[in-house]
């Protein structure tokens, strides 16, 4: 099984008529994702390579029964697009947009929590989600992921997610679902949300978690793993050499004061019984051992 998406997920793309939206929307469809529509105000009735365009998410949902939305809209309009999807009752929204202001993200998160608790937001600033062979929403190159499980992946970093998928494929290890939660300070979906979903999924028999410096989400995840999980976890944390006070590319990747260091995160995870790797290659190797022991 997969988490959050599967072969029955019906996806609309908000921003399908834009350059990025068209490229990734069509690429997702070519992978086999069920892309049923696009949304762009003022372009309702048109189509993109046979995918119908609607003026609003509500119209698109009514016409297609979509149950997921892929938001590919520039930063200034992304918040409104996410809230529109939530207001239309779309239960799963993936937003890849990079560069959304922090206050907008904080507001969206809290509005969803209080007014649209039935909507899960993945991202923003994330590579998306792929359940190999079933559904790919986002910008991950589908061919680097091996279908079939038994490993679930959750990651804060885009390219390290690809690296992880690739390491596992090289070793012949399949993936149930790979979720990129994104590197911003207020992600809609957290490590714990994904870990809990993987724990509940009978086909996911091991989880790879990829974190980085900044915040305390990895520490909270460690606590959750220790208390709530029987599925084994292998983790890798990037940023051991990152200096305090400097943003390392991701808005969330910053060490402030004595908090958020890679070392503290690795220690917390190790104390929770997680196998902690020193680099992505080692993470792949550790995972092969874990999978072998579980079968």
């Amino acid at each position: 099984m997969s988490i959050f998406v599967d072969e029955n997920t019906k996806v609309i793309v908000q921003g399908l008529t834009g350059g990025q939206g068209r490229f990734h929307g069509l690429r997702n469809r070519a992978y086999g994702t069920n892309v049923v529509g696009g949304v762009r105000k003022g372009k309702g009735g048109e189509d993109v390579e046979g995918i119908p365009i609607f003026d609003s998410v509500a119209e698109a949902k009514a016409a297609t029964c979509a149950n997921a939305s892929f938001v590919v809209v520039p930063p200034a309009g992304a918040s409104a697009a996410i809230l529109e999807a939530a207001a239309a009752g779309i239960p799963f929204v993936v937003c890849i947009t990079e560069g959304i202001p922090a206050h907008d993200e904080a507001r969206i998160y809290n509005v969803l929590q209080r007014q649209h608790s039935g909507t899960r937001l993945l991202g923003p600033n994330c590579p998306g989600i792929i359940s190999p062979g079933k559904c790919n929403i986002g910008i991950t190159a589908g061919e680097i992921a091996q279908p079939g499980g038994p490993v679930g992946i959750v990651s804060r970093s885009g390219t390290l997610t690809y690296q992880a998928l690739y390491e596992l494929k090289q070793k012949g290890v399949g993936v149930t679902t790979c979720v990129g939660i994104g590197g911003d300070p207020v992600p809609g979906t957290s490590f714990i949300d994904c870990l809990a979903a993987f724990e509940a999924d009978p086909e996911t028999r091991a989880v790879m978690m990829i974190g980085e410096i900044g915040g305390a989400e990895e520490e909270k995840a460690a606590d959750f793993i220790a208390k709530e999980m029987s599925t084994p976890v292998v983790a890798y944390i990037a940023g051991v050499t990152a200096p305090p006070g400097k943003k390392m590319g991701h808005a969330g990747a910053i060490i402030s004061g004595s908090k958020g260091t890679a070392k503290a995160k690795m220690e917390a995870l190790a104390a929770a019984g997680v196998e902690v790797a020193q680099n992505p290659t080692e993470a792949g190797e550790l995972m092969v051992e874990v999978v072998a022991n579980r079968t």
């Binding site: 202001p101 809290n110 390219t159 690809y162 690296q163 990037a238 200096p243 400097k246 590319g249 990747a253």
Partner: protein, 387 residues
């Protein structure tokens, strides 16, 4: 973007937060002019983005023009924890009855805003938090509803501010919250927020970090940017639109994606080397971006070897390879480079690189092998330089 104190005070003033009269000075003569305008006695303050200015002698009281001249002379050019003072802020000295603390920032663990007020201002707040956590009043604020006057009042009362300061402090707090939210700041902090003997409350210092992601809706931020504190390498990288952080080592790092770039620095470290920088060329980088990245690394004299680590997702292998070839044609690359290329169109990329491979341009199949090779080369060349 971190603002200097004087910029932070200018930003505060836009939102109506009371600050002292003062002006900016880059020379001793300017400092005297500003002092005359503000009225003696004045405080001459070093403008650097680092804590501990006062202890380092970067904040001085002056009663007349001779003293201003003397202090300005000693502070300009002063090195405070590696930051050279190029600018002063000269303001009218305030009589201080009490010093408080106030700030707003995002609490990432609850994903709400955190407002903090303390009656123990004027000193390092992290120290207060450690020694006497009860001395800081904290309030979680829901970003979807905002801060009410009642909540501001609660914070001020809870912190135990002096009764005569409370109305002024509530006012300042509400304005500071506007500055935080409407002003798109990641952090606003007043330390100290003072009470004067005649009962006025105002900001004696200003710490503001602006959210770069919001710059598209703040054209007025441009004026803060031109004197931004970057090192020379960071300035060059920024002018080319690259995500770059200067570090201290000898292996120049280029990678795509923030996570992979951090991971690359870590791996260099694990195999016994030291990264000279963090450089993320981003997703979907073109040949031009790759060539720019190589030029930035090449301009850094401490770089002894270059490690290019690319995992193509949106970024395509042949674009990366073409960028390397372009850069080799455009400038003389001073250091040997080691390339690891995987992912989308990696085969095409490797085929292109084959044509330029030499003792100075090497390919390695994995991240670890490439790191070992680059670190080995850097050590060899550093050794050579010593002889």
């Amino acid at each position: 973007m971190d603002l200097f104190e004087y910029q932070g005070k200018q930003y505060f003033a836009r939102f109506g937060i009371p600050v002292s009269a003062g002006g900016v000075a880059d020379t001793t003569d300017d400092a005297v002019v500003q002092a005359e305008k503000a009225g003696y006695p004045v405080v001459v303050k070093a403008q650097v983005q680092v804590g501990g200015r006062g202890k380092a002698g970067g904040i001085q009281l002056a009663a007349n023009s001779d003293e201003v001249r003397q202090h300005a002379q000693s502070i300009l050019g002063m090195d405070i924890k590696g930051h050279v003072v190029r600018r002063l802020w000269v303001e009218h000295a305030s009589d201080i009855a009490k010093e408080y603390y106030a700030s707003f920032t995002l609490d990432r663990s609850t994903k709400m805003y955190l407002g903090m007020v303390s009656a123990r201002g004027g000193i390092d707040i992290e120290q207060v938090a450690e020694e006497d956590p009860g001395a800081i009043a904290r309030l979680q604020i829901d970003p979807s509803s905002g801060l009410t006057r009642d909540q501001a009042r609660w914070l001020v009362d809870e912190a135990g501010l002096d009764v005569e300061a409370r109305d002024g402090a509530v006012d300042s707090l509400l304005k500071l919250y506007d500055c935080y939210v409407e002003g798109d700041a990641d952090l606003v902090e007043i330390n100290p927020l003072i009470l004067t003997p005649d009962g006025r409350v105002h900001a004696l210092d200003a710490k503001v970090t602006l959210d770069d992601n919001a710059s598209f809706r703040h054209p007025e931020w441009d004026e803060f940017r031109d004197i931004d504190e970057f090192d020379e390498r960071e300035r060059l990288a920024k002018s080319k639109g690259l995500q770059y952080v200067g570090l201290e080592g000898s292996v120049g790092v280029i990678a795509n994606g923030a996570g992979l770039a951090m991971s690359t620095c870590d791996v260099v470290n694990q195999v016994g080397g030291t990264p000279a920088n963090f450089l993320d060329i981003g997703g979907g980088a073109s040949a031009e971006v790759m060539a720019n990245a190589l030029e930035v690394i090449n301009a850094d004299a401490s770089v002894k070897a270059i490690f290019i680590n690319i995992f193509g997702g949106i970024t395509r292998g042949e674009e990366v390879a073409n960028g390397i070839v372009t850069a080799l044609g455009r400038v003389k690359i001073e250091s040997p480079m080691v390339i690891r290329l995987d992912g989308t169109n990696a085969e095409e990329g490797r085929a292109i690189l084959k044509q330029v491979e030499s003792d100075e341009v090497l390919s390695r199949p994995t991240m670890l092998e490439a790191a070992r090779t680059a670190v080995g080369l850097a050590a060899q060349r550093a050794g050579g330089a010593v002889k």
